[in-house]
């Protein structure tokens, strides 16, 4: 799983220097990454050493059914070294979006990397694989996504499933899922897969996952859903700066009310923060500028599976999908309660008719006994 054996490549540090960054920039980048991947300060040395001594790791970055927002997020990661070194210089032997080569040249590059670094390259996948209609919905160079994925994963050391598309299908797999969009882990079973969900995932999180893999030569610790624990173990709700308003019971009722101005909790306008595991509240977006909740918009739970089908975005999720018109659980509950009440009323009437003799006997027996007592 390590890439120590590759000797023909420059190290990351060499690339950093060649790009004109100072040692200080490099150390700053390393410290930031160490913190992001959840290591203690003493591990900075370890990460630094890895970046100084380990050679460039070949990466194949495939794009299937997706919108490229993951790549966009990654290249906007807060530290320039991320884009310059991890993405631009070091990593990508093949990526449809950012490589210079095209056509047969590009396919050649892909093939070369796959054979030359067999068993050593990191395979990053952005997008879901359409399985419907024999995969014709997404074809590159005459091959279906499924064929490309199966070929590329064959010699991969590990696979990173970037974003919600590759991790859980995202909006393409929304009901009725016309293209049969399928996440990576349902197709490839014999490789370690790191899921980095989010639409898109946070750039620093993506960089952190790669740095972790570079440093330790193995995939980071994953949670039960296959996501790196360092970034996905806390709910957005638990790191939200509006949390005190939630605990106090102070909520925004509509987007233009006084409470919204005061910055109250967005729970009642559908915030999925309490159900969403991500690092938005801590890392934030665009160089730590803000994140949806800070901008006054509820979290839509974009890194959660099925967020597109599990209820409405601007309501607390209690609605049923697939009832034609979406109907809330409480509406159905109230109807069921009404029906039950009517049924019981009917039963009470039926009892008095159907069991009239029986009930009458009891009553007369009771009255008789009452008379006997002086």
């Amino acid at each position: 799983m390590t890439n120590d054996a590759i000797t023909t490549q420059p190290t990351y540090y060499e690339e950093v220097l060649r790009k004109g960054y100072s040692r200080r920039d490099f150390v700053r980048f390393v410290s930031m990454m160490t913190a992001f991947i959840g290591l203690e300060q003493s591990a900075i040395g370890q990460v630094t050493k890895a970046m100084e001594t380990k050679q460039r790791m070949p990466v194949i970055w495939l794009h299937f059914q997706e919108c490229t927002c993951c790549s966009e997020s990654f290249i906007r990661s807060s530290h320039p070294i991320v884009a310059d070194i991890l993405l631009d210089k070091i990593s990508l032997d093949y990526t449809e979006t950012l490589m210079a080569a095209s056509g047969t040249q590009a396919e050649e590059a892909l093939k070369n990397t796959m054979t030359k670094y067999k068993g050593k390259y990191l395979l990053c996948v952005e997008g879901s694989v359409p399985m419907g209609a024999d995969g014709v919905y997404c074809m590159i160079g005459g091959k279906t996504s499924l064929q490309i994925l199966e070929e590329a994963s064959e010699g991969a050391a590990a696979i990173i499933a970037w974003g919600s598309c590759a991790s859980n299908g995202c909006v393409q797999s929304a009901k009725p899922n016309p293209t049969g969009a399928t996440p990576i882990h349902k197709i490839i079973k014999n490789k370690p897969i790191i899921k980095v969900p989010g639409c898109p995932p946070i750039g620093e999180v993506m960089a952190g996952v790669i740095v972790h893999y570079l440093t330790f030569g193995r995939i980071p610790e994953l949670d039960k859903l296959g996501r790196p624990k360092a970034f996905y173990s806390k709910r957005v709700h638990d790191t939200c700066y509006r949390r005190p308003f939630y605990d106090a019971g102070l909520f925004v009722e509509t987007f233009d009310d006084e409470n919204a101005k005061k910055g109250y909790c967005l729970y009642k306008v559908g915030c999925k923060g309490p159900s969403t595991y991500n690092a938005c509240g801590v890392m934030k977006w665009n160089n730590g500028t803000s994140y949806p909740i800070q901008s006054g918009h509820p979290c839509i739970g974009c890194s959660e599976e099925n967020f597109w089908d599990n209820g409405r975005l601007y309501e607390r999720g209690s609605s049923f999908a697939g009832f034609g018109i979406e109907s809330s659980a409480d509406t159905l509950g109230k109807v069921a309660l009404g029906v039950t009440g009517a049924a019981l009323l009917g039963h009470a009437v039926a009892t008095n008719i159907g069991k009239s003799t029986f009930i009458q006997e009891h009553q007369e027996e009771g009255k008789e006994s009452e008379k006997e007592l002086k």
Binding site: N168, D223, K224, L225, S233, K234, R235, D238, P244, F245, Y246, D247, A248, G249, L250, F251, E253, Y267, K268, K272, P274, S275, T276, Y277, G301, E304, E305, N306, F307, N310, G311, R316, G317, S318, S319, A329, L332, G333, A336, L337, T340, G341, L344, H347, A348, A350, T351, I353, G354, K355, S356, T357, F358, I359, E361, H362, E364, E365, E368, S369
Partner: protein
Amino acid sequence: MPNKYLHVHRLRRVYVWELPVRFYHWLNALVILALIVTGFYISDPLALASSKEASATYTMGWFRYIHFAAAYLFFFNFLFRIYWGFVGNKYANWKQFIPTSKRFFKEMWTVFKIDILMLKKNGKQQDHLSVGHNAMAGFIYFLSFLAFLVQCLTGFGLYASMSGWWLPKLFAWVPALLGGDILTRQIHHWSMWFFILFAVIHVYLVFFHDYVEGRGEISSMGGGWKFIEEDVFKNDKHQTPNPEN
């Protein structure tokens, strides 16, 4: 008129619901009520107008606290009831709830015909009278235990990530299995309606049985006694839904 009767019934006092069963029943009723009320609040909190600083109020916090505290009581009470299904008297035994014989289903069918469709049997308006639960009731309680299980699994599953204790963490696989908290939460919310409908029907049927049978159904969950006609003892008519042993 009085001469119409063959005899005035002589009733015998039968200890049906033991103290632990009654205790379980009322604690369960109380915590389920608390869970439903706080659950509704958590799902759709009231619009509060407060001039106080957020740090000085803790309304949502308290509702959630009560919900979680009641959840623990509910959970352990449920566990206790399962235990009592093995050591309690025959009316508390698990065989009253889980069908293991043909007779159980036959009795359910009888109850359905006589108590729901109001059909006569052998020309009589009432035929089968159970001392404890009838088979239909027992089976519905079994379904309600499954609903208890669903609520415990989804509830503690959601709670797992907030807790430092190993017990809730044992349920962390539930949201993982369901693909996340959003769906888990919804299942938790939908299932709650079972409890509301159950409570309504349950209370109605208690009145129904008390009214029709006149054996002290309502008060039985207070003192534990039901008053059973001597004929039942003499003719050995009484049956539990599943055969004994």
